[in-house]
């Protein structure tokens, strides 16, 4: 598996798209930090970009990589390699190269800004950690979609739909349901609802870390009570890890039974 990982990774970090992705974050980081004096505002803007963009790029890149390397995968399948190691290797290659673009692209401007001396280092680390988690989650989901759909167009369609669902529609439905059932106690429901969507979960984690939860009113207070504690933080990270593990397990399961 490590060999496949190594080659997919090197193949990807030399592709033009990795550089574009890296350059985008670099530019974003530089602009937000050096043209804007308020660090916590910069982190919030970055968060808003990351929360939407990372899942989108993760899904699209994952699906694209899978379909593009299909014939090559067939070549690998004829070698004495286990199926699970081929697909896990490729998955990790994509996820790691994307994460690297993210971490380096945002990290470099922050280091120059003097990150290590500022208090924002924890906010910023959390931002990168959740960004990396989101990359791993959505790349794994993308591989799942691609493995289940031999038709490229369908695969891309489902990938975009998944992103739309989790990044936008989920929030809408969630809010609507909160308004609709406002006469009932909703604390637990809204907590669970947030936990079930990795994008919402990441957003909540960062917002609460930034101590602007006062803006969120009563719900914010409840959330703060939960996520603000180390218990809540641990639970949240466990949720994110589960969100990585479940799709990865399905990749292994699905790839074992698939015909090529």
């Amino acid at each position: 598996m490590l060999k496949i990982l190594k080659y997919s990774f090197f193949d990807l970090i030399r592709s033009r798209w990795s550089y574009v992705y890296f350059a985008f974050y670099l530019l974003l980081g530089v602009v937000l930090l050096f043209l804007n004096n308020d660090l916590s505002k910069a982190v919030i803007t970055l968060m808003n970009v990351i929360i939407v963009l990372v899942p989108l790029i993760g899904t699209i890149f994952g699906v694209m990589y899978y379909y593009n390397s299909k014939e090559f995968t067939e070549l690998l399948l004829a070698q004495p390699l286990k199926r699970s190691s081929i697909f896990l290797g490729q998955y990790l290659g994509v996820a790691m190269s994307l994460s690297m673009s993210l971490i380096l692209g945002l990290g470099i401007p922050f280091v120059f800004y003097g990150l290590f001396k500022s208090n924002a280092i924890w906010d910023f680390s959390l931002l990168l950690i959740t960004g990396t988690f989101l990359t791993f989650i959505f790349t794994a989901l993308a591989f799942n979609i691609a493995l289940s759909n031999d038709n490229k167009i369908k695969g891309f369609g489902y990938a975009i739909l998944l992103w739309l669902l989790l990044a936008i529609i989920y929030d809408g439905v969630f809010l609507m349901s909160l308004i609709f059932f406002e006469d009932y106690p909703l604390d637990k429901l809204s907590l669970i609802g947030t936990m079930l969507n990795p994008i919402d979960l990441s957003r909540t984690l960062i917002l609460l870390k930034l101590d602007i939860s006062a803006l969120l009113g009563y719900t914010g207070a409840i959330f703060k009570q939960f996520f603000g504690t180390s218990f809540g933080l641990i639970i949240s990270f466990i949720m994110l890890i589960i969100w990585v593990i479940l799709p990865v397990m399905r990749i292994m399961f699905k790839s074992r039974k698939k015909d090529f």
């Binding site: 060999k3 193949d11 990807l12």
Partner: protein, 235 residues
């Protein structure tokens, strides 16, 4: 070498293989023929473990292929379509496949044979279709495995490379290897193969030498013999 028993495979409602029994002995060149959709590629891919059969057992060198990847050390496979990661150089791809499979010493000879020297430093994405096929063939013959499976090996090759390929196949046969070929080019099959296996509607319709096939169908040449099988069964 290879033994297949009662192999069934369907894709959805489409039954492709309906009980194939086939045993291939060591040594010689066997061509798998059949009309489009007769299950040639499915059969080959089942042997490689890329397609997972619904029923039946396949053994290569006595090892059951099910849930096993180790037996593929005995097989060299040339896929139908050659497509490689476009950012890798030819050299790097060769290094990578060597790294994945180990044991080889044949590569310098093959690079010279197919005149691949000038392409070694080029990226795979920039190669022409024919050159990609040469790289593909190169990767297949680089290892000294006892079973070689070639799926449409002639696609995109220029005449000189085709002659070289034929020589290469004969050389490998002389070493006592077993070579399994699918092709649509009947003259190529007739020239090269010792034995043919004719698949029709998911079953083996004929297995034997080309002379036997000609006798069976009362036809003078091979192409007509094949055509007569097809017209008898589809008319």
């Amino acid at each position: 070498m290879v033994s297949i028993e009662n192999l069934h495979k369907s894709f959805g409602k489409n039954q492709v293989l309906k009980g194939v029994d086939l045993s291939i002995k060591n040594g010689g060149i066997i061509a798998v023929l059949g009309p489009n959709g007769s299950g040639k590629t499915t059969l080959i891919k089942s042997v490689l473990g890329m397609v997972i059969p619904n029923k039946g057992t396949i053994k290569v060198q006595g090892e059951n292929v099910k849930k096993n990847s180790n037996y593929r050390h005995y097989i060299d496979y040339l896929p139908q379509i050659a497509n490689f990661p476009s950012n890798l150089k030819v050299k790097e791809l060769i290094k990578m496949i060597k790294d994945l499979r180990k044991n080889t010493n044949n590569d310098q000879h093959l690079i010279e044979l197919f005149k691949l020297q000038p392409f070694l430093d080029k990226k795979l994405g920039n190669l022409s279709g024919g050159t990609k096929q040469k790289v593909n063939i190169f990767l297949t013959f680089m290892f000294d495995s006892p079973l070689i499976i070639l799926d449409e090996p002639t696609t995109g090759l220029d005449p000189i490379s085709l002659i070289r390929l034929k020589n290469l196949i004969q050389e490998e046969k002389a070493k006592g290897k077993t070579i399994l070929i699918t092709s649509h080019i009947m003259s190529f099959v007739e020239e090269i193969s010792d034995e043919i296996v004719f698949l029709l509607e998911g079953k083996i319709y004929f297995k034997g030498t080309i002379t036997e096939l000609k006798n069976k169908t009362n036809q003078q040449d091979f192409e007509h013999a094949i055509a007569s099988i097809l017209s008898e069964n589809h008319a």
